[in-house]
């Protein structure tokens, strides 16, 4: 295999998949870090976002990329609503109960998608897309836009967390929730803000997966393991760690088909997860361990 075909068949799809996982893993790592539990409904929330774009495309005939911001806002609303309905009342009790509740939410979200849109594979736009060639490296338009949008979203999030009042509040809550509350940070509002961001990014991850492959009711659930593996690989609570972890898992999954039967792609993420937990649970960038 020469370099160019390696780039075209493995590395480019790997980077695209990696940026999808990265966006998803940021959501996982934010819940883990700021709210301190494993959110098992994250994948199905991404599915919901992807199908909301489909609903807008089918309903108004608009371009899926234009529909995305609306779906992201709607999914953020859903995320905050889920928090209010199912998670908030458990906050004074053992954190693991919230994890159990989130598995129930995952099942409910998936069931809604299955009832409304069915279980067959769907696409946003029909037809075959021809990749453009740049010096022999072939990239489809949608792949280019996926990467560009991921960069914009990640940079915006980093700036928000680093330089704004509310971003600092989120980081303070992630470092030490009691101390944050004592210093006068409104932890309730910060929690809602966190869910908003998680919903926005989750919908984006779901949409990018949907537009680069196809829409299926279980697409988000199957992303859950790679997203968690990416978050733990990068270091729980670290946004840049989630991006790094997502990229590594995405590229590794696409390359794994060279030596693994493709149906076992998801076993790779699982192996990474277990190896990291066994050898270096803080992850590559020294995150938290719950």
């Amino acid at each position: 295999m020469d370099l160019l075909s390696f780039l075209n068949f493995y590395l480019v799809p790997g980077i695209v998949l990696g940026s999808i996982y990265a966006l998803g893993a940021i959501g996982i790592t934010l819940v883990f870090g700021v709210l301190r539990f494993a959110h098992l409904a994250h994948g199905d929330m991404a599915t919901m976002g992807a199908f909301l774009v489909l609903a807008l495309v089918a309903g108004t005939g608009m371009n899926p990329w234009l529909a995305l911001p609306f779906a992201m806002i709607a999914t953020a609303g859903i995320a905050v609503g889920l928090h209010w309905l199912f998670y908030e009342h458990l906050r004074r009790r053992s954190a693991i109960l919230t994890v159990i509740a989130s598995l129930g939410v995952a099942l409910m979200l998936r069931a809604i998608v299955q009832v409304v849109w069915g279980v067959d594979s769907l696409t946003y736009v029909g037809g075959i897309v021809r990749p453009e060639s740049y010096f022999g490296i072939r990239i489809k338009d949608r792949e280019f836009w996926t990467l560009a949008a991921t960069v914009v979203l990640v940079v915006a999030l980093m700036l928000f967390l680093g330089y704004t009042r509310w971003g600092k509040a989120m980081r303070a809550m992630s470092d030490n929730p009691d101390l944050a509350q004592l210093s006068g940070i409104d932890t309730r509002l910060t929690t809602i803000l966190t869910w908003t961001i998680i919903g926005l990014l989750g919908a984006a991850a779901g949409f990018f997966l949907g537009i680069n492959t196809e829409l299926k009711s279980l697409m988000g659930w199957y992303m859950l393991l790679p997203m968690f593996a990416a978050a733990i690989l990068g270091g729980v609570g670290r946004v840049e760690g989630a991006v790094l972890g997502g990229m590594i898992i995405g590229i590794a999954e696409e390359c794994s088909v060279i030596f693994l039967p493709s149906e076992y792609k998801s076993a790779l993420a699982f192996a990474v997860l277990l190896i990291m937990l066994a050898l270096r649970p803080t992850g590559l960038l020294r995150g938290k361990v719950l």
Partner: protein, 319 residues
């Protein structure tokens, strides 16, 4: 012959309730007693079912199997295998909070589902393993069902006595101490990760047994037969609704939830066919919602855990 049909149906339901009760007791050791969140019950269940099927099933060209061992050996094998799969997972993740175990068990269940679906030589892929021996399978239909029910109830009684004994023993008290205050238990010199691993393996073995019981009852096991989310979820609701930490609650929960679950199937069967597929997913939505409602309004379950009873009956200590 209306009453005969009803009797057949009641026996059929009772067998399922018995099997699910064993699974719920297994989960009660993991969650009720130790506070471990196993989100991959279906995985351990499937390992048990396939292991027993391979050990006892007939020989087929090009596939592992044909040992035709006695069914009892298959069931023991099922428990051992489920424990062997659980061991490395628990070993790695039980040092941390149970969130990690939840994710890892989802992963295990997923990998097991993939193996069951795609490995011809081991699981016969989507067609599954068939023609398994069934104890008392040669009798007439009703007697055969009744005899199998007796066998399931015998297993359930054994499991109940064993689990109940463990709950009341000093070991059970120690596990509750670890569950309720990890730091205090650790400061008293308890090896938390190791004790949790014991409980996790114990529960996993029972889940393997449950899988084996179901496989021989149906005489077959297919990947279709184990929808990971639904199976896992039903058992969780059985335990939480029945009463986490209470073994009788686990059995009661298995009966209540299985009867409700079957009733909703009756209800959805009345719907016209074009809605029947959607009805399947509406049922899934409802069990998700039911879990939320129980967590919100009756988190202690129908039969709550009774710490005074568990403490007094042990005789020693008197905490």
């Amino acid at each position: 012959m209306e009453w005969l049909g009803l009797l057949n149906y009641a026996v059929f339901m009772a067998i399922f309730i018995g099997i699910y009760a064993i699974l719920a007791l297994g989960l009660n050791i993991q969650w009720g007693l130790t506070g471990l969140f196993n989100a991959g019950i279906a995985g351990f269940f499937a390992v048990g079912a396939y292991t027993s099927a391979i050990l006892t099933g007939p020989a087929v060209e090009g596939r592992l199997g044909g040992f035709e061992l006695p069914v009892a050996v298959g069931w023991i094998g099922a428990m051992v295998m489920a424990g062997l799969i659980a061991w490395p997972i628990g070993k790695i993740t039980l040092r941390f909070r149970s969130d990690y175990l939840a994710v890892a068990t989802i992963g295990v269940a997923e990998i097991i589902r993939l193996v069951a679906k795609s490995e011809d030589w081991l699981t016969n892929s989507a067609r599954g393993l068939n023609n398994l021996p069934r104890p008392f399978g040669d009798l007439d239909y009703l007697f055969s069902q009744l005899a199998y029910l007796g066998l399931v109830l015998f297993c359930l009684a054994l499991v109940y006595l064993l689990v109940e004994h463990q709950f009341r023993s000093p070991w059970g008290r120690m596990m509750r101490a670890i569950r309720d205050n990890e730091t205090a238990a650790a400061s008293l010199g308890k090896d938390i990760a190791f004790r949790r691993l014991q409980a996790f393996l114990f529960g996993a073995c029972l889940m393997g047994l449950g899988g084996a019981l179901l496989a021989h009852f149906n005489r077959s096991i297919t990947p279709e037969g184990i929808d990971p989310m639904i199976t896992t979820f039903l058992i969780w609701i059985m335990l939480i609704l029945g009463g986490s930490g209470n073994n009788r609650g686990a059995i009661l929960g298995a009966a209540v939830v299985w009867i409700i679950w079957s009733m909703t199937e009756f209800a959805t069967d009345q719907l016209p066919t074009e809605m029947a597929i959607q009805a399947k997913y509406i049922r899934a939505f409802l069990i998700g919602l039911m879990l939320q409602l129980v967590l919100r309004f009756r988190p202690e379950g129908l039969l709550p855990e009774d710490p005074t009873r568990a403490g007094r009956k042990t005789g020693g200590g008197g905490s």
